[in-house]
């Protein structure tokens, strides 16, 4: 029996669900154009152009904040970390070399390193708060019981994913965030996390499957 017949062609036909429809080809060309403009922007920043620094902050703050927020699950922490990331950028932009990768990847690696530092620093806090974390799950389970996945979208889906992401290990969490939420290429994720592409895909598969199981336990139909 063909697998697509079992699962439904619309779900597992990669081309129709995620392929060109997700815009990876156009995203790649857009990313290439962006990397070129980023390189020029960095040049201007290093020349002491104040407006270039402001443009750099305006263009990249959303992405850095989104990664921090998805990883930490806290608005206050994400804001603090975003500011820390840009302070680090102000200090060390001269160490960025466009020959070794795009500015976007360099910035993602910087963000990821600060997130891992933050994760290690707050490990003790999470251990004490772990019991409280279980309580809202019961409420969510009853509230979402019987709902289908099609009914959950937008902000509600975003909050559910946010809660589920916090239960993933940091390695799986960062991979899922960078690929499925920030739509980075495998090569870029590989460079940012400094791991082989095969490891990226392996972590991504495990992270997605674990995320689905967590969401299902919360009563979300996956």
């Amino acid at each position: 029996m063909a697998f697509s017949a079992v699962m439904g062609q619309e779900v597992f036909d990669g081309a129709s669900l995620f392929g060109p429809a997700k815009g990876h080809a156009s995203a790649a060309s857009a990313a290439h154009a962006a990397s070129g403009s980023d390189a020029q922007l960095v040049e201007r920043c290093l020349a002491g152009d104040g407006t270039a620094w402001q443009d750099l902050v305006r263009i990249h703050t959303r992405r850095v904040y989104a990664i921090c927020y998805r990883f930490t699950g806290s608005d206050a922490d994400a804001q603090d970390l975003t500011q820390d990331v840009f302070l680090r950028v102000f200090k060390s932009l001269a160490t960025f070399h466009s020959a070794t990768g795009t500015f976007s990847v360099w910035l993602t690696r910087l963000t990821r390193n600060l997130l891992i530092d933050h994760y290690r620093r707050t490990k003790a806090d999470r251990a004490t708060g772990s019991l409280e974390d279980h309580l809202p799950v019961l409420e969510e389970r009853s509230a979402l019981a019987g709902r289908t996945e099609g009914m959950v979208a937008g902000r509600e889906a975003s909050e559910l994913i946010q809660g589920a992401l916090q239960k993933l290990s940091p390695e799986l969490r960062e991979t899922v965030i960078l690929r499925d939420l920030e739509e980075m290429e495998y090569r870029e994720i590989s460079q940012a996390l400094e791991i082989p592409e095969g490891t990226v895909k392996s972590r991504l598969n495990r992270g997605r499957a674990e995320l689905a199981r967590i969401l299902r336990r919360q009563g979300v139909g996956i």
């Binding site: 020349a47 904040y65 500011q83």
Partner: protein, 198 residues
Amino acid sequence: MTPSSKIRQSSALSCAQCEEHLADFLDGALSHELKALVEAHLGTCNACADFARDAAGAVAFTGRASAIEVPATLIPQILSEITTGPSRVLVEAPLAERIFGRWIRPVLQPRFALGLAMAALSVAVIPWRWQTAELATAPARILTMAENRVYRVYDRAVKGYEDLAVVAEARNQIDEWRDATDQDAAQPANNDIRVQPR
């Protein structure tokens, strides 16, 4: 031999190979042949099918999540750091670059510091070299300077000798006073000696 050709030869995927291609399968990035092989494996392996179903479900669900909105105050806070805050000095070009332009930057790199220091030393030495050259061409001046030096040494020697004489005289005087004091102290003791009559 490429991985694809290896797979074609075996004509069936193992679970590990299936997982290896799953991410690309879900992206729709596999060739028709590989896609057919993955589908065939998923049709026969329940564990991989469940795994793939979960992964696909998660991708579909995350695709429906709304984008994260940046708090309105965050960008102004970061910008204030470089416009009025302590990071302002980090993003401004150095004074030398503002005056001379960017071409001065390579010259100011640390590896050129030693060269610059040596150049400065060479420039500083030039007046001393000029003075030396001038002396070499003026023997009379050299003789005058040498004569002055000799007189100065002689005067210092005389002054040192006179100082020593004063010190010796003062010392003799002190010794005399000390002897006189000792004699005065010994005189009454001699007077007290009585010879007892037999």
